[in-house]
Amino acid sequence: MDALRTVYNDHPKTVLFGSAAALRILLAVTFSGLPDLLTGRVEISTPVNSFKRLQEGLFLYERGLDPYDGGIFHQAPLLLPLFSLLPSSSTWIGRLASILLFTGLDLLTADCLYQIAESSAAHTSRLFSSPRKDRTWHPISVAAVYLFNPFTLLTCLGRPSTVFTTFFTALSVSHACRAQTVTAAFALAIASYMSLHPVLLLPPVGMLCYDRLCVQIARKAHSPSADGDARGNGFNGKVAIDQRTQPKALAFSTQMLGTFAIALAFLFALSRLLLPSWQFIPSVYMIPLTMPDLTPNPGLWWYFFIEMFDAFREFFLGVFWLHMLSYSVPFCLRFQKQPLAAVVLMMGVVAVFEPYANVGDAGAWLSCLALLSHVFEVSSAHRYTFPALATLLYAALLGPAFHHLWIYAGSGNANFFYAITLVWSLALLILLTDAVYSVLRDEWEAERPEGKGKDVRQI
């Protein structure tokens, strides 16, 4: 017991990651049917990330047929060579291999989150330092929240390809926190190449990267000995900004965008090398835009566009996408002082409003919320966090039941599952709003310390 404790105290990270990996593999091995069962769940696998569809695409690819010349496979081309190197997942060894791969991805993602949390980007930035920065959780707990989040766990076993997207997004953010512009942009490019929506994160991530860059330079100027993270140095986090040493915003943004574009072009070229035609571009990137495949998912879109009148379908597709786009820039403007918050919240918006929503993205976002742990007290004091979480749990439990009633038992109709997806999205939305509120409140209290814990109005 004591040994364990000592071990934990010495290398908590190792213990945590080891246990997480062990848990995943154990689950996959003991319940050998579980992974395929989860793969079949509509909450986890959507037309754009389903592992089974990936297998189909792989099959066509390995036999020289263009896998994108068909209605089944809509995932990024570079996944094909990767999985063609693995043994076929119909065998147990193949299944194990895929589980190992996805577990590895999860660990890497967790590590990225760890680093993000470590680089106190959440509460300390160029222009702002949160009064609650000493309330942030330990990076270990952030990583733990990700690794042991049931949604993440199930998603990992279900093996949807959005796990890749999550990983590369987290990677890009972590590199942005370390002010590595190129890799950040590169990782984000890969993420958006995997699935379209991470493009929306480009502005906030760019902002974050720029911010960290300034901080770093300033710190270098301030104390050459100081290392990258703000925990070490005792002063109140806000570093003296020297305008002269700051990088030019324009140059920076051009560098960021340039890298992003080049990376994307590179990826497309690489994919084209592997495939007989450019068919994959419409097949991968038009599907989320036009949503031809209306398989149920926990999002808001599917039933809406099942029931939509044909005449208005295109119009509402446009409206929904514009609505998603409409968050990116306002967040950047409002959260100038704490760019990481902008990134996390934008991830939340995507997780709630994306066309092929799935539990994986929602779970990943919920775990990322732990990065903003320093403001939890605000939301729990002033907002509806508990009811929201309760609702989330309610929806998560009732969703599969209602889906079963509709599809298998036949004793309920589509409205059952639709209603529950509605509740689910509502709960996520409430959490999102709470997060926004508390981040803003925290920022406000930084300049108005006396406002702490008092009632405020918004005018």
Partner: protein
């Protein structure tokens, strides 16, 4: 008669126009086989040919003009159209007639070779023109055969025609099916109208909708093909119309006005004295022995009226000369009225020729007689069945079972057309076989090597899936072909009026290659499975408005609250500027306070609260303010402490430092 006169009129014109024509032919034939003692197979065949030149010049004699012109402008060199209903019972009826080459899957099936000149777009145009005009001609919804029901088979069908290979004239094969199409009298009417005698005379006068569509199995086919003799003789265009029916004798001989079987009066029932309980009051009906008595006029409702001998007779081939052939054991008694008859060499088949008169009513009747051992029908090449496995409306599996009863291996081609809303997973395709002899089902089946797979995946709403597999079935073994599929959810406008009935999946076409048996291409036979019914998950069709409203509400909620937070700034409650109303409220409160002799700051706080202007929130604001005034610091520390404990374990420390800050 007028009819003949009127029909002869154009032909005389034509003959005047084009004196040098290869003589157009028309002949019709009816083949009858009593399958077992309660079923009768009747195969009608009407063949008419015309020469290429006459066809090109729009000179039609026996070749149906309407069809000819459709083919000409859709530039289809070969056409096969099928209407089918019911199921051929291989177990009891044996091999299919005409090697299954003249039958279709349930519903309507159409395939044609179309001139490929001008690229795919042109071909698609011609194809759509073809199906549309055919739908007009045959009163069928053939116009529903669009891109989502059209496929391009590679192996399954061969051109039956022999056209002179002219360089550059490439033909494309398109194939479409309508599994949910109901075949009924309105399809038979145009079918008969294509015939020169229009079902008024000759054996076609037997074709009556009431009987044909009362059959257990029925298929109508129209096949147009070019025939070019090996010699330099002129090419001919042949249209062959066949109608095959299997009639339940007992059922079809019921009186038409009262087809409902009713118990016979006891007097007419022949009792079985053999039973021990037989007596004056109990009667066990004796089982009928031998073949039922039947006659054409009873089975088809009317006798054959006249004959339709149009083309000048050339006594070359036998089946052109004979109108009706009957396949019964030689010892059977057959009474033919107004027909001249003869026997084939092997005296298994009797041949009859109708008299030339147009009004003569001819009939065939077989009296009740005892079978001299039931004759065995030839065994079918394969026994094929297909089912959908799995339950629920999310996913399922296809499961086809092909049994080869013969002692030799057979090479087959298995063709499936799947609608786009059925999404097959080809990586789950498994074809394995086990020998019929092996008793234990536990024996692990052996995988079958698939020689060829032609697979065209579906594209949502625009293309159908085509699966074409070629493999060899080992002798006396059963092959199982399985794969998983997923069911799509459609837009609610895409469901038919009876959405919950399900969607019809076209029959699988199995082509058994005869080459192994050394018969060559002609030995090929076709087998079609029954069509399937696929239930799809259905949305609530009454919901559009509700769904639009509810979803939009949730989205608006998120959007509104988030942007509300984003655009407005925080202000402490106290700092909110007082409105006039707020002042009034404050004064009233003060007055109340005076009345009660309450404390000053209470009223003051109330004033602040009133200043909040939030009518509802006044109370709470009031309390909060009061607290803040009193012991805000300590209280907040405690509170933060609580939250801190929620957050992480160092709250004590925090409290301390908070306190002394």
């Amino acid at each position: 008669m007028k009819l003949s006169f009127l029909l002869a009129l154009p032909t005389t014109l034509l003959t005047l126009l084009t004196p040098t024509l290869a003589s157009p032919e028309y002949n019709e034939h009816l083949h009858l086989i009593p399958l077992s003692n309660e079923y009768l197979y009747a195969g009608f065949n009407f063949t008419s040919t015309t020469s290429q030149s006459a066809y090109r010049a729009n000179n039609y004699r026996y070749f149906p003009r309407s069809l000819g012109q459709i083919l000409q402008y859709s530039r289809a060199s070969e056409l096969h159209l099928r209407f089918a209903l019911g199921r051929w019972d291989e177990e009891t009826w044996g091999a299919r007639p005409r090697h299954g080459r003249r039958e279709g899957g349930t519903g309507v099936e159409l395939w044609a070779w179309i001139d490929a000149e001008g690229g795919t777009e042109a071909v698609e145009e011609r194809w759509s023109a073809l199906v549309n005009s055919l739908s007009g001609l045959f009163c069928a919804s053939l116009n529903f055969i669009d891109g989502t029901k059209t496929i391009r088979p590679v192996l399954s069908f061969d051109s039956e025609g022999t056209s002179r290979s002219t360089a550059g004239s490439k033909q494309l094969l398109l194939h479409g099916t309508l599994a949910n199409e109901v075949v009924c009298t309105e399809n038979l009417t145009p079918f008969l109208k294509l015939l020169p005698c229009k079902g008024k005379a000759g054996i076609s006068s037997l074709l009556d909708g009431h009987k044909v569509f009362d059959a257990n199995w029925q298929t109508m086919s129209i096949d147009v093909r070019p025939i070019c003799p090996a010699s330099d003789a002129e090419c001919m265009i042949e249209v062959q119309q066949t109608a095959d029916v299997v009639l339940d004798l007992e059922r079809s001989m019921r009186p038409r006005d009262d087809p409902i079987p009713r118990p016979q009066p006891i007097a007419e029932i022949e009792c079985d004295e053999g039973k021990h309980y037989h007596g004056g009051d109990t009667c066990y009906p004796k089982r009928k022995q031998g073949a039922k008595r039947w006659s054409l006029s009873k089975v088809f409702g009317s006798p054959v009226i006249g004959s339709c001998h149009l083309s000048e007779r050339n006594d070359g081939e036998a089946e052109e000369k004979w109108d009706i052939s009957l396949e019964v054991p030689s010892e059977h008694i057959v009474e033919a009225s107004a027909m001249q008859d003869s026997l084939t060499s092997d005296d298994q088949i009797r041949l009859y020729r109708l008299s030339e008169s147009r009004t003569q009513r001819s009939d065939l009747s077989l009296p009740h007689q005892y079978e001299s051992g039931s004759r065995l029908r030839p065994q079918p090449a394969l026994y094929a069945t297909r089912q959908i496995t799995g339950h629920g409306q999310e996913r399922g599996g296809m499961h086809a079972v092909l049994r080869n009863p013969h002692p030799y291996a057979q090479q087959i081609i298995y063709l499936e057309t799947l609608p786009w809303f059925l999404r097959p997973y080809m990586h789950t395709l498994k074809v394995n076989h086990r020998f019929n002899s092996t008793e234990d089902k536990s024996a692990r089946p052996v995988d079958v090597f698939l020689e060829k797979i032609f697979y065209t995946p579906a594209i949502d709403r625009s293309r159908a899936t085509k699966v074409e597999v070629m493999f060899t079935i080992p002798p006396e073994s059963t092959v199982e072909l399985t794969y998983d599929f997923e069911k799509a959810v459609l837009r609610y406008t895409e469901y038919p009026p009876d959405a919950n009935r399900g969607f019809d999946i076209a029959a699988a076409v199995i082509r058994v290659l005869g080459s192994i048996k050394g018969l060559g291409r002609e030995g090929d036979s076709y087998i079609r499975t029954t069509s399937l019914l696929l239930p799809l998950p259905t949305p609530d069709f009454s919901m559009p408005y509700n769904v639009i409203i509810l979803t939009s509400t949730v989205i608006a909620l998120g959007f509104g609250s988030i942007f509300n937070l984003l655009v407005r700034r925080f202000v402490l409650v106290e700092e909110i500027p007082k409105g006039p109303l707020a002042g009034l409220v404050a004064r009233v409160k003060v007055g109340l306070g005076k009345l009660r002799g309450g404390k000053g700051e209470w009223a003051e706080g109330a004033g602040g609260a009133g200043g909040a202007g939030g009518a509802g929130g006044a109370g709470s604001a009031n309390r909060a303010h009061e607290d803040a005034a009193a012991d805000g610091e300590a209280r907040r520390a405690g509170q933060t402490g609580v939250n801190g404990r929620v957050g992480e374990g160092k709250d004590g420390l925090t409290n301390v430092e908070r306190k002394d800050r």
